[in-house]
């Protein structure tokens, strides 16, 4: 048979761009490009979903940060935790809004975690991991239905912003423990909260120490190195990785500075402008989360974290009782982690790594 022709094979295994399909010379425009416009129309009609979780001790400015990010009062009049006594147990609060900008509709869900790290005994992070896994479970249950919905509602957490208190020293054991567990289930973006209490030099030193801590404990934060698709991604993401964790300041009040109205915090010694790169790195965080990497966050959640969950769930399904169970993902010790590559699905033309999990 002519090597250019392939007879149909009923159960062909997944074959990414096979080398035998010839590229064709075209003598004029066909109009394939129009499919991009069609995609856009479809996307705009369906709208987008984005689910973000903020984790950190109370008083680190999580709610304010969310308000600043989305330039609106995401939390209703009383943000949980503010003005109320510290919750006795770790709780999760979610709120969903629909925001629109230039015709693009975004269904935004923000989950807060008041009470995290506030108790005396703080090793109970199950509610957070449980919530994340519960969202995966929901999606899985919808996906395996016989009669499926046209569009499965996506409540999975796409990004978890972890607020590190500005101690200036290094990551605390609580931070390390939790980050280790979290990074294997969801995209984590750590930030240095309330960075206005650190000077520039202190900031840089703190940042480097945190980066070192992350490396030592094999905590793979977003953007993960292993998912860089091509050289452009690598360059862009390397720059980001250098600056993570971002030192951020949140503010939802506007002040007059040099005749301009800016978002900032007013103190006796000056006004900290949130969107001024010289003052804090909030713009970097906003750009990462919203303007450039939002779709990427969703894709990695869907293609990697959700698939990982699914594999574990399906492998263990015959052991678990009927109904959604909660899967406990304990971090391995650092030594063990270094010897295992993260369970990933490579996006290139090479095969899924059939590694152990």
């Amino acid at each position: 048979m002519d090597p250019l022709r392939r007879s149909p094979s009923p159960c062909s295994s997944s074959r990414p761009s096979s080398p035998s399909t010839p590229a064709c010379e075209m003598f004029g425009p066909i109009g394939i490009e129009a499919v991009l416009g069609q995609l856009k129309i479809k996307a705009m009609k369906m709208g987008f979903e984005f689910n973000i979780m903020v984790v950190g001790q109370s008083g680190l400015g999580k709610s304010t940060m969310v308000n600043t990010l989305f330039k609106s009062k995401v939390w209703k009049s009383n943000p949980p935790g503010l003005g109320l006594p510290t919750p006795q147990t770790l709780q999760l609060h979610s709120v969903t809004h629909v925001i629109e900008e230039k015709g693009v509709k975004l269904k935004l869900t923000v989950t807060d975690t008041p009470g995290f790290g506030d108790q005396i005994n703080n090793d109970n992070w199950d509610p957070i991991l449980g919530y994340i896994n519960e969202q995966y479970e929901r999606y899985l249950q919808e996906e395996i239905l016989i009669t499926r919905r046209h569009h499965i509602p996506d409540t999975r957490v796409h990004c978890c912003v972890y607020f590190v208190p500005p101690t200036g020293h290094c990551l605390r054991p609580l931070d390390i423990e939790f980050l280790q567990r979290l990074c294997r289930t969801v995209n984590v973006v750590p930030v240095i909260a309330r960075a206005d209490s650190l000077t520039m030099e202190e900031r840089e030193a703190f940042r480097h120490r945190i980066q070192k801590n992350l490396r030592t404990h094999c905590i793979d934060v977003y953007p993960q190195k292993c998912f860089d698709e091509d050289i452009n991604d690598k360059i862009l993401n390397s720059k980001l990785r250098d600056r993570i964790p971002f030192a951020v300041v949140g503010a939802d009040r506007e002040h007059l500075v040099n005749g301009r109205c800016v978002l900032g915090r007013k103190t006796k010694w000056g006004i900290i402008e949130v969107e001024n790169m010289a003052h804090c790195e909030f713009p970097l965080l906003r750009d990462l989360l919203i303007r450039s990497h939002l779709q990427d966050l969703k894709d990695i959640t869907h293609n990697v974290h959700y698939e990982n969950y699914r594999v574990i769930r399906l492998n263990e399904s015959h052991l678990l009782p009927r109904g959604p169970g909660w899967v406990n993902l304990d971090p391995a010790s650092p030594g063990q982690l270094t010897s295992r590559r993260p369970f990933k699905v490579c996006r290139g033309a090479h095969d899924v790594s059939e590694d152990e999990f």
């Binding site: 022709r5 490009e33 975004l106 303007r291 399904s317 699905v345």
Partner: protein, 429 residues
């Protein structure tokens, strides 16, 4: 099962007003960039008789020369031939697969003509389903081979649809998006064409054939889709030859009585087909295939396997059952195979044993025979020996007797001679 302290205010989905530019209006661009880097798949199935112009039309549509040899009319049955090509326009990469029905309509008995086509379409759905059901899967990386559009080529008889066409389209309409087209439309006169089109459409309706409906719910495309739908089925002419029209070259077919221009909307509906198929509805065709035809196939297949969704109370993990069932099935098969092999082994051993026994018996018999023969021979030899001995005895006796006689004779002779001698001597004395 809710977690302690988790509480969701999801019921109040309110619109929030933004006090500034957040920046997520770049989302559609982010999405498009991602899709562009991954590339697109588009698969077209061309169903039509041999020689009706399927390959030429594909060449014309995609403005290129796909490698192909024309098929013969001697095919014993219908078979499907799929060819894949990579096309690129600016930064959009399209992986195009064109599936041809070779030998369609050539057989004398066309009862089963539609079967290979349906089987092929189902096979592509099955492959996707298998990938989706895998535990470790890579769906985003998957080369989608499901048919997104089926161009059904109707022969330009001018009368009505052939019964083969009706039967085939009826079998395909729930599995694929059918776009009927009239091929070689330059053989029909304009007034006949109009009547032909109406006849075809009314026949399709009266036979309940569901062809692809161009979507009219999206305002940007509703108008153009509505106007184009009126012209179904599209009467097309394909050509890769170029003819000089005025001062430029255009794709056309040259006849002694005139030139049929492919891209002239007064001459044929080629431009309409290209608009509808590629420029306006390619994404919708893909989506319909995935959300309607594939889901239908999946539902039927899973129900066939015996699974259903029950109400939220009992919440069965039907996928778990699938895996359990598959695992059990697999184990069962394994066991069965083992049994079979064991049986066969036992049987073989028995056979061999029997053979050996036979051989042994034969050998015994031979041995007995030989023994007997040997005995007989021995007896014979003994007899002979006896005989010989007897003879020898007799001979000895005779010899003895003879010797005796001889000796007696000698003696008497000697005596006689002596007597004679004596006599002689006596005489002398």
């Amino acid at each position: 099962m809710s977690f302690q302290g988790w509480h969701h205010q999801n019921e109040e989905l309110r619109n929030l007003s933004l006090s500034g530019h957040v920046g997520f209006d770049s989302l559609p661009d982010q999405l498009v960039n991602k899709s562009t880097s991954q590339g697109f798949c588009f698969n077209i199935l061309c169903v039509g008789e041999t020689g009706i112009g399927k390959s030429t039309l594909m060449d014309t549509l995609f403005n290129t020369k796909f490698e192909s040899d024309p098929a013969t009319h001697n095919e014993p049955g219908v078979r499907l031939k799929a060819r894949s090509y990579e096309l690129q326009e600016s930064n959009v990469r399209l992986k195009l697969t064109i599936v041809d029905t070779v030998g369609f309509g050539d057989q004398i008995n066309k009862d089963d003509s539609y079967k290979p086509i349906v089987e092929y379409i189902d096979a592509q759905f099955e492959a996707y389903l298998q990938e989706e059901l895998k535990i470790k899967r890579s769906l985003f990386n998957y080369h989608d081979t499901r048919i997104h559009a089926c161009l059904y080529f109707i022969a330009p008889t001018g009368h009505s649809l052939k019964s083969l066409d009706l039967v085939t389209m009826k079998k395909l309409d729930s599995k694929v998006n059918i776009i009927p087209i009239i091929a070689k439309a330059d053989t029909i006169a304009k007034n006949e064409l109009h009547k032909f089109k109406s006849k075809i459409m009314s026949e399709l309706v009266s036979n309940g054939v569901q062809i692809y409906q161009f979507p009219t719910d999206e305002e940007t495309v509703a108008e153009i889709n509505a106007t184009m739908s009126v012209h179904l089925p599209f009467a097309v002419v394909g050509s890769t030859e170029e003819v000089k029209i005025g001062n430029k070259m255009a794709k056309a077919r040259q006849y002694p009585w005139g030139v049929v221009q492919v891209e002239n909307e007064n001459h044929c509906d080629f431009v309409k087909l290209r608009e509808m198929l590629i420029r306006v509805n390619m994404e919708d065709l893909r989506e319909q295939t995935h959300t309607r035809h594939y889901e239908l196939y999946r539902r039927c297949k899973l129900e066939e396997m015996g699974f259903k969704d029950t109400d939220p109370d009992s919440k069965p993990f039907s996928l778990q059952e699938t895996y359990e069932a598959k695992r059990n099935e697999f184990l069962g098969e394994l066991q069965k195979k083992e049994e079979e092999m064991r049986q066969m082994f036992v049987m073989r051993v028995k056979e061999k044993e029997a053979e050996l026994k036979e051989a042994e018996k034969e050998l015994h018999e031979k041995f007995d025979l030989l023994k007997r023969t040997h005995q007989e021979e021995k007896k014979k030899v003994e007899d002979k020996k006896k005989e010989l001995e007897e003879e020898v005895n007799n001979f000895q006796k005779k010899k003895a007797a003879a010797q005796l006689l001889q000796s007696q004779a000698q003696q008497s002779g000697a005596q006689q001679t002596k007597k004679d001698k004596d006599k002689k001597n006596a005489s002398f004395t």
